[in-house]
Amino acid sequence: MSEETQAQPVEGQLSPIKRGQNALTRVARYTGVRLVVLFLTVVVAIFLTIMIANMGGYVDQIRRGEIRENVNQRAIQNPAIRNLEPAERQAWIATNVAIEEDRLGLNDPFIVRTANYMSNALSLNLGRSQYLASDSGSRQVRLIILERLPTTLVLFGTANLLLFFFQLFAALALSRKYGSFWDRVIIALTPLNAAPGWFYGIFLILIFAAIFRILPFGGMVDAPPPANRWLYALSLMEHMILPIMALAISGSFIAIYYQRTFFLIYSSEDYVEMAKAKGLPSKDIERRYVLRPTLPTIITQFLLGLVFVWTGAPIFETIFEWPGLGRTLFQAVGLYDTPVIVGSTVLFAYILALTVFLLDFIYVLVDPRVKIGGGGGTSA
């Protein structure tokens, strides 16, 4: 985290009103500076995205080549065009090339288009895609993203939520029984997390879908989808079992190991020993002396995990035939569809910036030692 959020030393005593005014000024100043810095970060991120997505303008050359190839292919495959007189045929090709170049804005200088992309992105005017269509056929970038977002959220959001709490409680339980059998099992299984989720997905599909035939191979719901919404929900849940299992195998052990170690460190602090010596119940000790000081880390982990759900997971979604955002963005990158790439990046950047901004305030709420903007005040 940034320096401003570090715990501050005790200062001299001030009147409550003065302290309140100082605190407000400090918070306002911090908020302003923080927002400006985050905004500038977003601007830089978007600019870099535009530059990378367009290879600094080289994509124009690629597109011009592709347009000519595509138009010529159309001319070859259409007997009516193929058999035209050479001059008429070349005129047809030239017209269609010009139309496509105009549609993609290739006649405008790249710098002008970059400026347009920037201003549209910053004002959240996501515009229209150049090639991709949403599932329902729209070329509005907003709809392309919004159509896929729920499916991504429902899978990765659910998985994140389930796994987060499972990992948290498992880590707590293991920290209580350091060196136990299950503790050793989890440590032994952590190397499994070296492989990505899609890798385990292949095995799980093979075992549970191809061999035992008790779970579906992939997709979001049965085909055709059940008309009854309860049956639809049931089908959806059935299709989520294997992906979540794959995510659990690929991510849980190391997360549990990491959090359990974290809890163990806090469990050996002097104040915890003191609490134990005082005879406080172990649940209270966990909640007040172990869990609470680790909350900022846990919340950061949780929220950033949710934010990164936005990016989806192209290979994972492909293995499970899941209609998620990751595959859409992957397609957009392959097609150099700048508006879609920029649109998803700008939304991601704004959400990430907002999360980072909010986290600073959340830290204050959950950890009294932390103060916004540093400066005066005493720690608890």
Partner: protein, 841 residues
């Protein structure tokens, strides 16, 4: 104890999963060799039982999306899906399918690979020598590459060698099979000969061999190969590089994707010398009956306006022949044959391109599924799949159909999705006037009953099938009252008399006649009967979107309409009951059957009745939606979709407004054929259809679009219970009749004596009917592989032919006689060969 048991179970689970994974397809088995002589097809029943069932054999087809062929195969084996309608090229998967008794497959030719040469030179702008500026070196490259190696080792048997621009499964290859085979023998792999030719030519060009590497003006020559990385062309590029290294060239292999390669080979000036060789690839999605334009396109600067093609310098003789073939400048098929023979040899001498292979792809399916497939487009590209798909011997059932994408782009009939994944299900919802033969590319009558073609005397048009009549006249005058163009302002057709006050002639006149019961038997999926208005609206849509004065003018369509009007001369409705339409045109196909212009209301991107088109026209007129993606972008509105998305609400609002309003679009013209009552009934039908189905896709085909789930990536088609035609109408196309040829004869012949060889032609072990055989040609090669004799075998009986070969002048030694059998009912020729020895007399 419990822990130990759990650990044991967990451990077993991991071991089991690893074992199961290891039990997959055996990747070490050698791929099966596929040759044209023994092309494999799934064994299915050829004679379908007669039935009273109409329309589709099955009740429902459910489309789902599976990206990976490996995953699809696993699901096929598990019985989750019934067919994976995608052109798979993986030889390992092919072996897996062949080894599984529960699976079957269909094959298709459509993709082909070649080497494109940069012909600029002899020197590039920077003074480097370009060896491939010499046609001699390019021609020698034909012998430096081993096409059999490429087909067998790189493609794992899923390819056949290719020497010319003609696809080995299309009509022109079969027509000129003797020339093609002679070329194949002449340019067979011969690296020693290639090296000799290249060495001599390089020295003549001023290069010298220094330490085994070619140099020019003291600098080492390096050949730059742009190698595409997405498919087998990567290995081809590596192989060609190695072959070039073997004859003294240093090679710079540049691996690039399509996007990366395109700016270099398509856009760069060849004289800059950014590349020497590009690993090109092409695709054909329909069987071509006429490849006469190939030579002009692939070897001259005439048809492809990119810098590379502008650098082509064909010889005058070749250019003239290519131009004549391009423009059908001949009067008979015999003359065309002579031109083709010249062009094929001259193309080899030019060799701006060296052709490598025709790729074979396959689509796996469960063994008890039957479906007609197209030799070029496979199952997905087959027009007949909706009419033929069935479980063997069954009526009814649900087919689970998977492909690598579903619902890619908006569906609308005028300028909607061009994706094959969208067009495959669309095809099931529509009908057509004629149906392309999936094995020859010739048209058969479908909704039309008959066709009469009248051509100008001297045109090289020929008839193969007896459902069409063909006649010739000295001149075809287009009647003054025929419609020749469209007035978008007044919304009326312009007659020939108005457009051509001095009259106009055409090269062909095509008259199609529909059955007398057409209006009683055919109805749209929403219940509206087919009427004359649907045909008239189709005619209007041919012109109106391309007219600048139209409210729905589209610049891209404008270019198409301009191109169309360059050859279209007029259309006239002779009778509305039975419907008879005659069309006058200057553009014609060599096959009389393929000149059909039926005006059936199926458009480039789907089908639609006039009232469905009307709401689209209204939406575009009001700038709410646009038929084409280009115009949608220009107007910044949605690209019109009749099946999903924001378009539906807009289209629905027009339907609601039109119900009871008696609205008729283009009333000045369409109003003469449609009454206000019909209009009201139609919009009411469409409103009810939308309420029931949730979309506006409306056809006359054997299936209707039952439901659409865009995000879930699935759609369902259901059998159209009102479809009038019998389900077995197209059953005869369930399998291509690829002949199996056997050749026997004496193994030793004294020179000067006659040798007699017997040719047996069969299909499914039964004699191939002589009436279906178009030719049995023989070719004789001597020990050096030189063609020494050709001729036609003599018919003996069905499936039996005889070759009587005089051996006068034959040198003592081994010889080979090869026979090529071509058929009227399938465009793939079959071959067999026999080796014999001639001894001194």
């Amino acid at each position: 104890m419990l822990r130990k048991r759990l650990m044991l179970v967990f451990g077993l689970l991991i071991v089991a999963s690893m074992v199961l994974a290891a039990c997959g397809a055996d990747t070490t088995e050698a791929p099966e060799v596929v040759t044209t002589e023994e092309a494999e097809t799934p064994v299915v029943e050829t004679e379908a039982p007669r039935t009273t069932r109409t329309g589709a054999w099955v009740d429902q087809v459910v489309f789902t999306s599976i990206d990976q062929a490996e995953a699809a195969l696993t699901q096929l084996q598990a019985g989750e899906i019934d067919i994976y309608a995608y052109s798979v090229n993986d030889p390992v998967l092919f072996d897996t399918v062949k080894a599984d008794d529960n699976l079957s497959y269909t094959t298709a030719f459509g993709s082909y690979s070649e080497l494109s040469f940069n012909p600029s030179g002899p020197e590039f702008l920077d003074g480097r020598l370009n060896p491939f500026s010499s046609p001699v070196i390019r021609e020698a490259m034909n012998m430096l590459v081993d096409r059999d190696y490429i087909a067998q080792e790189i493609y794992g048997g899923l390819a056949v060698p290719k020497f010319t621009s003609l696809n080995s499964s299309f009509a022109d290859y079969a027509r000129y099979v003797a020339t093609n085979r002679a070329i194949e023998a002449f340019y067979a792999y011969n690296p020693e000969r290639a090296n000799e030719i290249i060495t001599a030519e390089m020295i003549a060009m001023g290069a010298e061999l220094v330490d085994g590497l070619w140099s020019y003006n003291g600098a080492q020559l390096t050949i730059i190969i742009i190698i595409r990385t997405e498919d087998e062309r990567m290995e081809i590029g590596d192989y060609v590089g190695s072959q070039l290294e073997s004859v003294g060239f240093a090679v710079d292999r540049q691996y690039k994707t399509r996007s990366e390669a395109s700016p270099i080979w398509v856009q760069s000036d060849p004289a800059e010398g950014q590349w020497h060789i590009y690993t090109g690839g092409w695709i054909t999605t329909a069987i071509s009956r006429d490849d006469g334009t190939n030579f002009s396109f692939f070897y001259t600067p005439r048809d492809y306006p990119i810098p590379l093609h502008q650098a082509y310098t064909p010889t005058e003789e070749f250019d003239a022949v290519a131009l004549r073939l391009r423009n059908n400048d001949f009067t008979s098929m015999e003359e065309r044959g002579e031109l083709f023979e010249q062009a094929l040899w001259l193309a080899q001498q030019d060799s701006s391109r060296v052709w490598l292979i025709d790729q074979i792809s396959f689509s796996p399916q469960v063994a008890n599924l039957e479906v007609a497939y197209d030799l070029a487009g496979g199952v997905a590209g087959s027009a007949l799949w909706p009419y033929t798909i069935r479980f063997t011997g069954e009526e009814g059932g649900v087919v689970s159909w998977a492909q690598p994408g579903v619902l890619i782009e908006p569906w609308n009939p005028l300028a909607g999705s061009n994706w094959i994944y969208d067009q495959t299900p669309q095809r099931a919802t529509q009908d057509t006037g004629t149906m392309p033969d999936p094995f020859t590319g010739l048209a058969w009558p479908h909704k039309i009953e008959s066709m009469d073609v009248v051509a100008t005397t001297g045109l090289p048009i020929a008839r193969t099938l007896d459902w069409v009549t063909l006649s010739f006249v000295d001149q075809i005058d287009v009647p003054a009252d025929a419609w020749a163009d469209w007035d978008a302002v007044n919304q009326v057709f312009l007659t020939v008399g108005e457009v051509y006050p001095d009259g106009v002639t055409s090269q062909v006149k095509v008259t199609v006649t529909y059955p007398a019961d057409l209006w009683e038997t055919v109805s749209w999926h929403d219940g509206s009967p087919l009427t004359m208005g649907d045909f008239i609206m189709g005619m209007i849509m041919t012109f109106d979107p391309g007219k600048p004065d139209s409210a729905i003018y589209d610049e891209a369509t404008g270019a198409n309409v301009e191109a169309y009007l360059a050859h279209f001369r007029g259309v006239r409705i002779l009778s509305t009951d039975p419907l008879t339409i005659e069309t006058y045109d200057d553009l014609y196909a060599l096959d009389a059957e393929n000149n059909a212009v039926t005006w059936w209301p199926t458009f480039a991107y789907g089908t639609a009745p006039w009232h469905n088109l009307a709401i689209g026209v209204q939406a575009e007129t009001d700038a709410q939606l646009a038929f084409s993606a280009d115009k949608a972008d220009a107007l910044e509105v949605e690209w019109m979709s009749y099946i999903s998305g924001p378009s539906l609400d807009i289209l629905s609002s027009y339907v609601d407004a039109n119900v009871g309003a008696g609205f008729i679009p283009y009333a000045a013209t369409l109003g003469q054929y449609v009454t206000a009552e019909e209009a009201d009934a139609r919009f009411a039908n469409l409103q009810a259809w939308y309420a029931e189905r949730g979309h506006f896709w409306n056809g006359t085909g054997p299936f209707y679009l039952e439901s659409v789930y865009p995000v879930e990536q699935t759609l369902t088609l259901a059998r159209n219970p009102n479809y009038p035609d019998l389900a077995d109408e197209w059953a005869r196309f369930s399998e291509p009749k690829i002949a199996v040829v056997d050749l026997t004869g004496p193994t030793s012949v004294a020179a000067g004596e006659e040798a007699t060889f017997d040719v047996f032609v069969t299909f499914n072990d039964a004699p191939y009917p002589g009436a279906e055989i178009s030719g049995v040609q023989y070719l004789v090669y001597d020990a050096t592989g030189t063609l020494v004799a050709t001729g036609e075998a003599t018919f003996v009986a069905d499936g039996q032919y005889q070759i009587v070969l005089p051996t006068d002048g034959f040198a003592a030694g081994s010889n080979k006689v090869e026979v090529a059998v071509t058929s009227y009912v399938v465009s793939i020729p079959s071959f067999a060969s026999f080796e014999f020895v001639t001894t001194a007399p």
